[in-house]
Symmetry: C2
Subunit: 202 residues, 2 copies
């Protein structure tokens, strides 16, 4: 059986990564979302093990010292990271994994696992990005400006990724991700077993 593929997905706030992944998971069943470990408190509506594992700072620092994380960072006093073993186990079992992560985390993953396939999601135009970041019109202009600045920084690194998915129409963006997943499974480098199988009997 061939191994699973690790997909990294990034994109600025408002690019629609979550909606795209929800659409992908509806159509592809042999794929899972990596669950991050975090030290921040649980927020109302969140559930342990749903999108995050909520662990103590001590437990997190123990994972760091035992090299049990694929990547991690510290943000306003809390740790966020990707536990290594569940990802490796899933890949070994032939299951694809999606990691939703920012551009810095993606760079760390690429270094640790060069075979990872990375996708960057962009809104179709600058105007649309502004519209989405402004959200429901309840945010201060300074907050919006900060979000735009962060988005600009992320998009400027989109060229580090393997694929660029434009989220104009959600259905098309989901289809695009499914095309990428299918094509990546067809990579010759991932199918050397098949070549050997056909050749071995020649």
């Amino acid at each position: 059986m061939s191994k699973g593929i690790l997909f990294i997905i990034s994109g600025p706030s408002g690019s629609g990564k979550d909606s795209i992944l929800a659409g992908v998971f509806k159509k592809e069943h042999n794929v899972a979302l990596s669950i991050s470990s975090v030290t921040r408190p649980m927020r109302p509506g969140e559930k342990e093990g749903d999108k995050y594992h909520f662990i103590s700072r001590e437990a997190f620092e123990s994972m760091i010292s035992h090299d049990e994380l694929l990547e991690y960072n510290c943000f306003v006093g809390h740790y966020y990271g990707t536990p290594k073993q569940p990802v490796l186990d899933a890949l070994e079992a032939g299951r694809d994994i999606f990691l939703e992560i920012d551009v810095n985390g993606a760079a760390m993953i690429r270094k640790a696992m060069p075979q990872a396939v990375s996708l960057f999601v962009v809104p179709p135009t600058y105007e649309e990005l502004c519209r989405r970041l402004k959200g429901r019109g309840t945010d201060e202009p300074a907050v919006i400006a900060k979000r735009l600045e962060a988005a600009k920084g992320e998009i400027s690194r989109a060229g580090e990724y393997d694929y660029l998915v434009t989220n104009d129409k959600l259905d098309q963006a989901v289809e695009d991700v499914l095309h990428i997943m299918a094509a990546e499974r067809l990579k010759a480098a991932k199918q050397q077993d098949l070549i050997n199988e056909v050749l071995g009997k020649c």
Copy 2:
């Protein structure tokens, strides 16, 4: 407008390359098959410009000396080659091109145009390969043995290709090629214009 993509497709005799391409061309219209130039005589049922341009040896050798071929070879006294300009023109116009070619020609194209995307078509099993090569049972065992040997040589170089497409069910193989075409268009390296466009207005 983004440029077209040059796709190379190879595979042993009996792998079903022609049937796959026919299926692809039915669904994708912004793609063309490269027409080879050959010096062999036209066979009954063939038409000038359909799959080949039939030209004189002098004309072919003039193309060689003027570097007007992407690749060429000589087979039982006749030249076969891929004219360069029509391929470059189509790519420039944003049209994808498929080149159906053997493993040696593919290696030459890859060297001349490293951006080419290469696909290798394999039958699902060795038994199926034998069945297809034996054809309608009218060929001499020696001829079949020669075909099997040639197929083995080609398949042993499948690892040089970007993608491996298994032609078990034709419809699935066509879908696989369409996935690859779609994914290749989503490569970030081919969409730097889009990144600049979104960023330029930030």
